[in-house]
C-alpha cells in the first residue's frame, strides 16, 4: 500500500511538527509513507474565494503529485474534504473527471485513515491530563469524522476525554472569513473559548490547524496561557518535535 502524506500548506508553514507527528503515527500503524516534495496547497482558499480556475489548476497539480498513491492522507478535515468532496464538483464534464474522482475516493483525513483503513488503535504518545475535542466543520459535516479521533483519544495513555458543550459548533475560523470579518470571527471564537474553559480541560484538540490557530489566538488574547492547544496528531504521537 502506497500512502502519500499531504501535509497541507498551513501545517507546512505554521506548525511542521504536526506533519512530523503524522509521519510517526503512520509509521506506528505500520504504513510506509511517501512525502512528495513538490506538494503545496489543495487550492481551498481559491475554491472558497470563487476563483475556480486557480482551484482547478492546483487540483491538477495535486493529482500529479499524488497520482501513484493508493491513499492520500491529510492531517486536516477541510483540506481532505476539498479534495474528496469538492474536487469532483470542479471537474464535472471535463476530461480530468475520472482521474480526479479516483483521487477523491483515495483521500482520507488522518484519524479516519488510521482507524478506518489501518485499523490502528494504539497511539504511541502520552498525555497526562484531560483533553476536550472540537469537531471541525468540514471534517464533521462533509466527511462524517467524529468517532475516529475520539476512539484514538480514549486509547491515548494518560489522557482523559472530556466533552465540551456544543463541540460541533463552528469556532468562527472560516479561512478568509477570519480576516475579512475579524470582529465577527472573534466573537464566534469567544463562544468556543467559553465552552472550552467550562470543561477545565488541560488541552483542547482538533483535526484542523486553522481552527486551532483561531482558538489558540483567542484563548491567549483572553489571557489564557495555560490551556494547551494541540492538533490531534501531536497529541496522539507525543507533542515533542524532534526535527530541528
Amino acid at each position: 500500500m502506497r500512502v502519500g502524506l499531504f501535509v497541507t500548506c498551513l501545517v507546512n508553514l505554521m506548525r511542521p511538527r504536526i506533519g512530523e507527528a503524522a509521519l510517526r503515527l503512520l509509521a506506528a500503524a505500520g504504513v510506509e509513507v511517501q512525502v512528495p516534495e513538490e506538494q503545496s496547497c489543495c487550492g481551498q482558499p481559491n475554491y472558497n474565494g470563487g476563483d475556480l480556475n486557480a482551484a482547478r489548476m492546483l487540483a491538477r497539480k495535486l493529482l500529479r503529485d499524488f497520482d501513484d498513491c493508493d491513499y492520500i492522507v491529510v492531517p486536516s478535515g477541510s483540506c481532505a474534504s476539498t479534495i474528496r468532496t469538492h474536487y469532483p464538483q470542479l471537474f464535472t464534464d471535463t476530461a480530468d473527471h475520472n482521474s480526479i474522482a479516483s483521487l477523491a475516493t483515495r483521500t482520507r483525513e488522518l484519524t479516519e485513515f488510521l482507524v478506518d483503513v489501518a485499523g490502528f488503535d494504539t497511539p504511541p504518545g502520552r498525555f497526562d491530563g484531560s483533553v476536550t475535542y472540537h469537531d471541525s466543520c468540514s471534517g464533521l459535516r462533509e466527511l462524517g469524522i467524529q468517532h475516529q479521533p475520539r476512539t484514538l483519544l480514549t486509547r491515548l495513555p494518560g489522557a482523559r476525554l472530556v466533552e465540551m458543550a456544543q463541540a460541533e459548533q463552528c469556532c468562527g475560523f472560516g479561512g478568509a472569513f477570519a480576516v475579512k470579518y475579524g470582529e465577527l470571527s472573534t466573537h464566534i471564537a469567544d463562544a468556543k473559548c467559553r465552552d472550552i474553559a467550562a470543561t477545565g480541560a488541560d488541552a483542547i484538540s482538533a483535526g484542523d490547524l486553522g481552527c486551532l490557530l483561531n482558538i489558540e489566538g483567542r484563548l491567549r488574547r483572553r489571557g489564557d496561557h495555560k490551556t494547551q492547544v494541540l492538533h490531534i496528531a501531536e497529541l496522539l504521537a507525543g507533542a515533542e518535535a524532534t526535527w530541528k
Binding site: V7, C9, N12, L13, M14, R15, P16, R17, G19, E20, V35, E37, E38, S40, C41, G43, N46, N48, G49, G50, D51, L52, A54, A55, M57, L58, K61, Q89, C137, R141, E142, Q169, C170, G172, G174, G175, A176, F177, A178, V179, K180, Y181, G182, E183, L184, S185, T186, H187, I188, A189, L213, N214, E216, G217, R218, R220, R221, V229, W243, K244
Partner: protein
Amino acid sequence: MEVTSMRFVRQAHASLTNPGLQHALGRLQAKFVSARADAIAELDDFEATRRAATAVRARVIAGLDEWLERFEAAVRANGGEVHWAVDAQAAQRELVAIARRHGVRKVAKSKSMATEECAINEALAAAGIDVIETDLGEYILQLANERPSHIVAPVVHKNKEEVADLFADRHQRARQTDIAALCREAREMLRPQFLSADMGLSGANFLVAETGSALIVTNEGNGRLVTTLPRVHVVLVGIEKVVPTLEDAALLLRLLPRSATGQSITNYVSVLTGPRRSGDPDGPEHFHVILVDNGRSRLLGDELEPMLRCIRCGACMNHCPVYQAIGGHPYGWVYPGPMGSVLTPSLVGLADTLDLPNASTLCGACSVVCPVSIPLPDLLRTLRTRQWQQRLRSRRERLALTLWAFVAHHPRLYRFATAVLARVLRVFGGRRGLIRWLPLGRGWLQGRDLPAPQSRTFLELYRKQQSP
C-alpha cells in the same frame, strides 16, 4: 424595500456591541436549537421525511409554470381571482387596485415576509389606506417602526422591557411588565381592528395546486381572523410556494413547524379555499391571490434553483454561528441568515450585496438542518464565484488569491516563499511565540493573537531529515 447590505460590517459591529441584543440572541439559540432537535427526534425517520419533502419541492420547481397554472385554474373555479405581479411595484399596484375596487379603507394583516419584500405597508399608506399588523411581533414592530430581524420570530431582537416602554408610550396606558398583561393589552387594541377591517391580507406557507387553497400556519389565531372576518381576503405570496396536493402540504407540515419553532404542529393550520360559498357560516366575500415573482423566476434553470425549494422555516438562521452572533438586521434586507445570504443577492443583485455570500464560515450547519436539503454553502460559493467572474471583489483580495495560486503552483518558489515567510513570522512572534502585530494583519489580530510558526517549514525539515 431599501437594501442596506453594503453596510454589513458596520451593522454587524452595532449588533456585536449591543448587550440587549446579544442577550436576546443567546435565548433564541438556546430555545430554537434544542426545541428543533427534540421535535425532529419525534419523527420515525427524519432523513426519509426530508428526502420526500425535498423531492416534492424539487418536482414543483422543475415544473413551476404548470403547477401555478393549475393553481390559478383551481382558484378561479372556486370563485376567486388570481393576479400576477412581476415585481414588488406590480404587487403594490395590484393590491391597491383590489382595495380601490372593493372600497377598502382599512387592511388587517397577518404575518408575511412577501409583503415585507414588496413594501406593501408603505404602498397602502401612500394610497391613503390604513394598515394594521395583527401578528403580535409584527404589531410591535409596526408601533416601533422597525423591520423584522427573523423570518419566523420577527421581534426576537427586542426584550420585554422595550416592549413595555413601547406599549406605554403608543397606547398611552399604564406600563405593564408582565408578559401575559402585555399580550392582553395588544389583544384589546387589535380586536376592534379585525372587526372594522375591510380587507384581510395574508401570505401563505403553501399554495395547493389541486384545490386552489392557501395554507397558513400560525400560533396566535390572528391569521384565522384576518382571513375570515373582513369582506375581502387577499393572499400575497411568492410564486415558489405552490405544492401539487394537500397530501404534499401535509408532508411538508411535518417538517415546517418542527424545523421552525420545534413544535410538532402549530396552534392553527388554516386551509383557505376561495370566497364564502352559499351556506358557509363565515369567510370573505372576495378572495384574491397575488402571485409575486420579483426575481424568483430568474433562478429557474440556474445553479441557484435549489433555493426556490425554501419553505421559510428559519432553521438555517437559528443554527448559523453568524446569525447567532449578529441577528437579522445587519443582513440589510428582508431575509437574513444563510437563506437570506443566498436569496438577497439573487433577488436584488450581486453588486448591492457584496458581503452577504462572504460573511459565512461555510460551516455547513445550515444545510444539515434544512428540511428541504438546500445546499446553502454550495450556493454561497456559487455566488462568490459569480462575484469573482464579474470582478466584484476588492483588488487586494484578487491579488492575494492570484498570487497565492501562482506561488503554490511552482514548487520551488513555494518552498522558498514559505521558508522566508516562516522566518519572518517567527521574528514577529517574539519571545513568547505569539504575534500581536503584523502589517495588514488587523483583521485577524484585532481580537486574537497569531501563534507564530516554528521558523522552518515542514518541507525544509523533511528534506534535511532525508539527507542529513
